[in-house]
Structures are given as C-alpha cells and as structure tokens.
C-alpha cells in the first residue's frame, strides 16, 4: 500500500517535471532558431503618452540619487514626464535626497512621502498611484539605473491598444562580486533572454516583473489598482490585467541594471518572498485564468504553467523524499523507480533548465561563463528547498490566519560607490 502510494507520487512528480522540461526545450529552441518578434522596436518618434515613473524606496539613501539622476537624463519628452520617488517610511536620508531633487527639478520630480500605513512596495505603490496623473505608470526599484532611451522603449508598446503591461530586461551589474552573483546573472539571463523573449515570440504569457516595466493606467484602474495584501504585486497585477483582455509585451532590448544579492541569506529571503507571493497568485488566479474568455488556448496553457511554476520545487523535494523512501523500503521496484525519477529530473527537469541557461549565456556572448553551469546545481538545490519552505510558510500563514509580511531585500551598494553604466 505504502509502496503503491510512493509509486504514484513518483510518477506524478516525474510527469510534472517532464512536462515543464518539454516546455523549457520548446522555449529555448524557439529562442535559438525561430524569428524573433521586433514589433515594438525602432520606434523613434510618436505621440508619446504622459508617463508617471514610480520609485518605491524604503531606506534607499545609498542608491536613489543615482536612479533619479539617470531618469532626469532620459530622452523622454520632459513635459510628459513626472517622476515620483515614493519615500516609504524611510528612517535614513531617502526623504531628504528626494526633496533636494524636487527643489532642483520642481516640475519633473514630485516626491510622495509616506509616513504610515502598511509596509511594503505594493502598499506604497497603491497609495502613490491614486494621486498620479500619467496615462502610463512605469516602476523602477530604487537600485536601478535606467539608460537614456529606456523610458521610450518601455512606453512604446502602449501605442498598441491591446498592451496593458510591458516588461524590460533586468541585467545584474554586480556580476563580478562573487560566485553567487555570477550564478544569479546566468539565472536572470535564462529567465529574460530566453524564457520571456520566447514567450513573447509565441504569444504566450510574458510576465510583468514589477520593475523596469510599464502599466497602462486605465487598465490598472479597471482592475481596482495595486493590491496591498500581496507579496508579489507583479504576478498579481499580470493576471488581473490579463483577465480583462490586455496583454503583456516583453522588450528584450530594454535593458536595465539591478543589484543581485551578494550573500546567500539575502538570496534565500528574497526567494522565500517570491515563493510566498507567487503561490498567493496561484491560489487567486488559477481558476479565473482557466475561465478567462480573452485567452487563446495557448495562453491558457501557458498561464497554468506560469502560475504553477513555484510548485515545481516543492514537488521536486517530495520526489526526492519519495525516491529515498522507496530505495530504503526495498522491494521489487527499487532498482527501476529511483532510476526513472533520476532520468525524469536529469533528462527533462533540471537539464532542460540548464539547457535554457546555457543558450541564454551563449546568446549574451558570454561563452566562458557556461563553464559555471554545473555549479548551478547547488543554486538549484538551495532554490528547491527555499521555495518549498516559502510554500509551507504560506500554507501555515493561511491556516493560522496570519498576514504575510513584506521583506525588503538589503542593498550592497554604498552611497560612496561610483557606478557608471558600461559603454
């Protein structure tokens, strides 16, 4: 009986991983060999909509000045641009820096000081968005350093009335810091260069990532605005806006630098929050996505894949435990089933994700970096366990009726650090 149960678990895990593996291969091969969509590229001049740029900032004195400086140098028509740094209950000099910028650029920079209320980026965005006037909202995290033409690139797809959200590409700038940042760079590369671009090509469901992206203000208002009670406002917003028929456009050339965690504890906390937030969205939007009348069949399948993606890690852990249990339980299946599981994980699960990563690194022109690929197995194991912990944390929060708290990712850059966008 126990053995049959374990068998069933293993077959289920292997089937799910194999399905995701096939998806990884399809996306990667499409990215490598098919024609890439360039629908929103090369838009030099247009009747640009008015834009409000939000920069949520909680104790960001080290980085927010550089972000404001980069945005003020943007080539977006200044008369249609409003920059709103959101000073979210900061205890450092963030508010002071924002005020100094506002004093020097009174029309362009209009800070929003938040001194009370629920903490976290979604709540801060919710409050600030209610007062903003732009037709398009663009969000940058405070540690981002946008290039001169990035705003135009992010806003251009909104000339298409069907686009409700846009997403640019995030590139780590602290790649050289240590092994972790180099591995995270590869992971980001796979996620954007291959996964998001292929989904955009195939008219699947590219995802809005919460930063380096734009939101059509009308679409946001139609869905009721930002939600404060979520840890993953990006996934939440993606599925609410998709629910009303708008689409997400991914822009691989709209690149912007960010800082990735330089220590494992910070990385683990970030992953835990993502896991909780994404699975919150899973519980909220799986049903509505299956019934979404605006989805094509392909979009519906892809939406399910995207929503379930943070369940793959807990399933993998369950698979590992089941494999071990079967091995030690003995019996006639012991030789076959662990092998089957291993083949499923290696052939379609992990290896497919690594194949995607290798393709991304090659497309980015960092051929040497592909040598780091085997070490990503360590990152994969850490991720699997952390995401599982996040998932279990969310379940216990729901059972105990606890509010999941926003956990800010610490910055590693100091205000004195000189950061120049490489040319």
């Amino acid at each position: 009986m126990v053995s049959a149960g374990l068998q069933l678990i293993l077959y289920t895990v292997a089937a799910v991983l194999a399905t995701y593996g096939v998806r990884h291969y399809v996306l990667t091969l499409h990215r490598l060999f098919a024609r890439q969509s360039r629908l929103y590229e090369g838009i030099y001049c247009a009747d640009w909509p008015s834009v409000t740029v939000f920069i949520p900032a909680h104790n960001e004195e080290a980085v927010i000045g550089k972000c404001l400086e980069a945005l003020a140098a943007s080539d977006y028509p200044q008369e249609r641009l409003q920059i709103v740094p959101i000073n979210d209950r900061s205890a450092d000099k963030t508010g002071q820096i924002c005020n100094e910028w506002a004093a020097n650029h009174p029309r362009l920079v209009q800070p929003f000081h938040r001194i009370s209320g629920v903490g976290g980026k979604p709540a801060a965005l919710k409050d600030a968005a209610e007062l903003a006037a732009g037709e398009v909202f663009v969000v940058f995290d405070a540690d981002y350093v946008p290039g001169r033409s990035l705003l135009k690139q992010i806003v251009a797809p909104f000339l298409d009335p069907e686009v409700g959200l846009t997403m640019g590409r995030v590139v780590p700038y602290n790649v050289e810091a240590n092994l972790l940042t180099r591995m995270l760079d590869m992971e980001r590369s796979a996620g954007y260069q291959v996964d998001q671009q292929a989904r955009h090509n195939l008219r699947c469901v590219p995802q809005y990532g919460g930063t380096v992206g734009g939101i059509r203000a009308r679409a946001l208002r139609a869905t009721g605005g930002f939600t404060a009670n979520t840890l993953s406002e990006d996934t939440d917003l993606t599925f609410r806006i998709l629910g009303l028929g708008w689409k997400v456009a991914y822009l691989n050339n709209a690149e912007c630098y960010e800082e990735v965690p330089e220590s494992w504890p910070v990385r683990i906390r970030q992953l835990m929050r993502w896991s909780k937030g994404h699975n919150q969205a899973l519980f909220r939007y799986l049903g509505p996505s299956l019934r979404n009348p605006f989805f094509t069949p392909r979009e519906r399948v892809e939406a399910v894949f995207v929503l379930l993606v943070y369940l793959v890690a807990p399933l993998t852990v369950v698979g590992w435990i089941a494999s071990l249990a079967m091995y030690f339980a003995g019996g006639s299946h012991t030789a076959v089933l662990p092998l089957l599981a291993l083949a499923a994980y290696g052939g379609f699960g992990n290896a497919a994700a690594f194949f995607e990563m290798a393709a991304a690194v090659r497309l980015d022109g960092n051929r040497e970096r592909v040598l780091l690929l085997p070490l990503n197995a360590i990152g994969y194991a850490v991720s699997a366990i952390t995401i599982t912990r996040g998932f279990l944390g969310l379940i216990s929060d729901r059972l105990l009726n606890r509010q999941s708290a926003w956990d800010k990712t610490p910055r590693f850059r100091r205000a004195s650090d000189v950061f120049v966008v490489p040319q």
Binding site: S37, R38, L39, Y40, E41, G42, I43, Y44, C45, A46, D47, D75, G147, R148, S149, L150, K152, Q153, L159, D160, P161, E162, V171, P172, Y173, N174, V175, E176, L179, R182, D185, R218, A219, A222, L244, G245, W246, N253, A254, E255, C256, Y257, T296, D364, N366, E368, R369, L371, L372, L373, P374, L375, A377, V421, P422, Q423
Partner: protein, 300 residues
Amino acid sequence: MNAEATLFIAAMFLWLGAPVLPALRQYKKAALAPLYVPAGNKLDASAGLSGAIAAISRGDFSTPVDGVSVSRSRRFDDTCPLRGKVACESDTSVSGTQNAFEVAWAPRFKLEADAVVHGALTASQRISVAPGARFRVLQAPKIFFEGPVGDLSARRPEDVATPGSPEGAVFLKAQGWWHATGDVLVREDLRVEGDIVASGSVFIRRGACVHGSIKARRTILVSEAASVHGSVTANRIELSQDVEISGCVLAEDAVVLGRGCRIGLAGAPTTISAERVQAHPGVEVRGGICAHAHGEALHV
C-alpha cells in the same frame, strides 16, 4: 560497505563531479564584465552626432567629434562610400551599394534609384527616396518617396462620414475598445470612435475614418482614401492609395504603403516599424521608418 556500493559511489562522484572541474576556471574569475547595455539604446540615430552637428552649426568642419567624421562631400557613391558615423555639412545624395555606414546626418538626403543603404540616415529637413532605392532606417521631418502625390482634394471630408459601429465587434466599456474574436469590418464612409482590438483581421473600407488605434493579430487592410487617427498594429498592414494614418504603423511582418499615403502629421511625427517596408511613389512620412530587415521604394 561492500565493493559494489563503493564502486557505485565512486561512479556517481565522477559522474556528478567531473562537470564541475572546468567550472573551477571561472570560480574566482573577477574579470567578468556585465552585459553591454547601450546608453542610448540606438533609438535616436542622431544621438551620437549631436557634437558634430553643433560643430557644423559653429562653422567648424575640421574638429573630429565623438568618433564622427565631418564631410563636405555632396555625393556618396561606390567610388566614395559612406563609412562609420558621418555628419554632412550640406545637402547630400547617396547612390551605389557600398555605403557601409552606421549613422549619417545631413540637412537633406536624396537616395538615388540604385542606392542600397544599411545604416540610419537622419536629415534635419527632408529625405527624398527615388523608386528602386533600398534602406533600413530613415528619420526626417519629411520623408518623400518620389512620384505623383495623391489627389487629396478627392478625399471625402471626415465630417461627412456617418458615425457608426464596426461590424463584428462589441464595445467593452471597461477597456474602452471595440473587441472582436474574429474579423472586423468598418464599412465605406463610416466613422468609428474608439480603439479596435481584433483576434483576426481588420478591414477599413473606402472613405471610412477611425478615431482611435487599431490592433489586429493578422492583417489590417485600409482601402482608398480612408483615415485612422491613431496607431495601427498588426502582423501585416496594407494601405491603399491616399490613406492617412496619424499615428505609428507597426507590423510584425510587413507594411505596404500605397501611392500617395500620408503617415504622421507635420507637428506630430510618427514611426513606421516592420521587418519589411515597401512604399509606392508619392508616399509621405513625417518622422521615421525602421525596416528591420528590408525597406524598398517601389516603382509605379
């Protein structure tokens, strides 16, 4: 532990550990630069030329600025091709197939019939394109494809067009669009207010007018003397003779501009962007054209 188990563990160690060995070469490597992110993202072809243009306006033709060469030549062809980044002090004609430049700026450009240019041509006043010329990126307040201009007087005034609804679409109030799961038809001399989003194709008949942007997953076909006050986005866009579009024209695959079409307005320049752009004589574009793969001025 028996010999079989030891062998198994050793094999597993080799299988899993061997691929990690080359990674050690990268483990402590500190010279890994982040990805190259172009500061200007190449959106504005004239961005790199601003210093040179300022120098020309001062009458300084001798100082090289920002890697830009300043040219007094009035003509580039296969014997004297365009190279690199070039700022031309006067009106310039380009012909031949050997012009391997990145960006070129001049007050006015004329692309001759045999010209094949792969870089971005930016003019502060006007670009004229002769039938047969091939191009990639053109930017100017006025881009004119040489040939007879359409008979604009024959165009029906918009206020005569009858207000109405597009066929095959329903209006979604929250989204503010006309939405269709299949094709949409805007009948002759009809005026439609609002954006149109269709999963199929959109057909705009003769003399019809749409005040809003249009998105179609497949094709947008705009018939003679029709107009769109907004952007059009589709896989393929075909505009017949004397069509007016005030916004951007964006296609995944191709844009075909019929004789005498006018894209963009004098005070509100716009962009045509597609893999392939084909323009008949008499087409006038105010703003830019970006043909990712191939742009061509067609003969009559």
